[in-house]
Amino acid sequence: MNRARALTNRLRRELFATPLDGLITVVLLIGLVSGLKALLHWSLTQADWAVIQANSTLLAVGRYPLNQQWRLWLLTALLSGAAGISWGLLRGAGWPRSDRLAAAVLLVLGLVLPAGLGLAAPLQQRWWWLTALLLVGRWAAGRWGCELPPRWRRLLPLTWPVLYLSGLGLIGGGLGLMTVRPSQWGGLLLTLTEASFAIVVCCPLGIALALGRCSELPLLRWCSTLYIEFIRGAPLITLLFLGQNILGFLLPGGLAPDRVWRAAWILTFFAAAYVAEAVRAGLAALPRGQWEAARSLGLNMVQTLQHVVLPQALRAALPAIVGQFITLLQDTTLLSLIGLLDLLGVARAVMANPEFLGRNAEVYLVLAILFWCCCAALGVGSRSLERHLNRQVLRSQP
């Protein structure tokens, strides 16, 4: 009874505090309800989702050879296993509320989404197995992870780079596996490969540039500044265009990398300038005393950077850097403008197929949801990492 009254009170305060507020609320509500109703009506009666069902493989991996796709499944399995284990080791045996929530979301996604998309039964089962692998990994690592010797646990952060490199190997082939050329990668696979490559490589580059720009040596400062401002003054599309059309002229014949890698490098160099600016802001936020204190302790330049300056600057810059990663992930859509078959490129090819003409809305909606989920996940991840780091700092202070 009391709760109901509290609720009405709160609603009144929030929505109908003044007559004007009331009017705004009513207008917004009418707009919202009619909009949602129209969307629901469209998606249930008018939309034809066959375009997604029939092309799900194409959207996911592009023209990756059918008989080699087991490699991608293996990679996904490895990734979900490693993700589960890392999750478990980080959080221990307990299942706090956020973990239970995340697990529930994963379970629902893993069970419902493949069926909802109307995937073939064997494919559905594979997704179930993958979800199961992730959750079992989380449970097992949480249960027994703390009993592992610390030396083993210290190896954990190493698994990710190793996994990343072997993942690239699995995708591209070589060492006895059939080579699958980058021109055959496509769809979400290409988008994620390009984005992850650029994210991994642009970080060290960006940090180096930021240090260069803050350096006391004029030449370093000038070179870094010139580079950063040049990149920031140019639209990404012109740089990609430059990469596709002029890079061949800048290198001796035949030395220029494949188009896909060329675009990946351009994305990397582009993002590095913005990451550098984020890191520079982090460096600027650092009190001057930190440098002096480190120096007076007798640390040399490298030690100062490694133990004192960078950890603090990077922590301060983390939100901005992750924001840059999110932009980078979104920027991969520009690859479709230079003729690469990334997720958007494949989608546009699909929509050109006469069978699916005029199904633009469905395809764009699905793409938007996919991107939204990836970007939002990155954002949530960054915020929780930030909280985690801040807690650590608080704990380490007396």
Binding site: R63, P65, E229, Q244, I246, G248, G253, A256, R348, A352
Partner: protein, 353 residues
């Protein structure tokens, strides 16, 4: 922020300096394309990629079509294996840069042979023989009731950017003194999407392409090709100007396909013809053509039997035409101008001598 402004100003100045800095040096590059391709063991061929009949991708990921068969013939002649080709899908807007920068070895992408594209002062390409004589046409919805190009006056027309089509359209409409709005898109996908959604009254490109695209539309009969042919469109494969040896190899491989049709050599009977030529020393023409005697292959930097290899892979010109765009295909194009000169067409190979 004021500091940033200063940096930017300097940057702008330096860009200007860079422009002045790289405007001389007359050193030329002897690019050995043939050696490069042989070393790589693979020909990189630029194609359109989404044009049924000319170049498109099957469900299993293999490329098929008229333009693709030209690539396969060249790869077979050079490397002995028609499958040693890597295909690159290229937009009209990126094709010449891709060729010029060496990203593709051969452009086989229904490209119109024009003076400015051929000239060293223009795009600086080197064109192989014309493999398809075409003309630019216009497609309109049947329901619009437009019957000729004058009916398009004052209307928007969809066209792919970076093509001769957009130039011809501008010329023709200017000659007719008809105002119009060109709506330009980067890819044929977008162009046809805008046309089908009714944004433009017509879409224009080569007639063979229009015919190919029309067969793929949901109701082909709802669209008609106007009778006007607004330009000559001789489509030819192209290589860079800088490497005559490589251009010659491509040129004569294509002539060989045409010559083979003239001589009645097909994919099916090529082995028999070789045996016949070997057995009969009096058939000097045939022996030279098939590489049983003489050194034509060597003069081009290819193997002596390059003609046989190409024919074995794709058949002669007539077979390529019929299989991909002619009676054996969905497009059912007439051979028309693309008949052999002996049948009243324009397909003519200079003597293999």
């Amino acid at each position: 922020m004021a500091r940033r402004q200063r940096y930017l100003n300097t940057l702008a100045g330096l860009c200007g300096l860079a422009l002045v800095g790289c405007a001389n040096d007359e050193d030329t590059l002897q690019s050995q394309k043939l050696a490069l391709i042989k070393g790589r063991g693979e020909l990189i061929c630029g194609v359109q990629g989404t044009l049924p009949g000319f170049s498109s991708v099957e469900r299993d990921g293999t490329y098929v079509g008229f333009d693709v068969d030209i690539c396969r013939a060249v790869a077979a002649a050079m490397l002995g294996d028609p499958d040693k080709v890597q295909y690159r899908d290229l937009n009209p807007s990126e094709r010449f840069a891709a060729l010029a920068s060496g990203e593709v070895d051969l452009l086989s992408r229904n490209t119109t042979y024009t003076l400015s594209r051929d000239a060293a002062g223009g795009n600086g390409l080197s064109f192989a023989p014309v493999v398809f004589f075409d003309g630019q046409g216009l497609m309109v919805p049947r329901a619009s009731g437009i019957s000729n190009i004058k009916g398009l006056s004052g209307k928007p027309i969809c066209v792919e950017t970076g093509t001769t089509s957009e130039l011809n359209l501008a010329d023709r409409m200017r000659a007719l003194q008809a105002p119009y709005t060109p709506l330009k898109f980067q890819t044929s996908d977008q162009t046809y999407a805008a046309y089908l959604q009714g944004r433009c009254a017509a879409v224009t490109t080569d007639r063979s392409q229009l015919a190919a695209k029309r067969t793929g539309l949901p109701n082909p009969d709802d669209h008609v090709l106007l009778p006007d042919v607004i330009s000559k469109e001789p489509l030819a494969p192209a290589t860079v100007n800088a490497d005559p040896l490589w251009s010659d190899a491509v040129r004569w491989t294509i002539y060989a396909l045409m010559q083979a049709e003239e001589l009645g050599i097909t994919q099916a009977n090529v082995e028999a013809k070789v045996a016949e030529a070997r057995a009969n020393p009096n058939l000097a023409d045939l022996r030279r053509f098939l590489g049983v005697e003489g050194d034509f292959g060597k003069q081009l930097g290819l193997s002596p039997d390059f003609v046989v290899k190409a024919l074995r892979a794709v058949g002669n010109y007539g077979e390529i035409f019929e299989r991909n765009v002619g009676s054996g295909s969905l497009l059912r194009l007439e051979r028309g101008l693309n008949r052999s000169w002996k049948a009243g067409g324009l397909i003519y190979a200079p003597p293999f001598r």
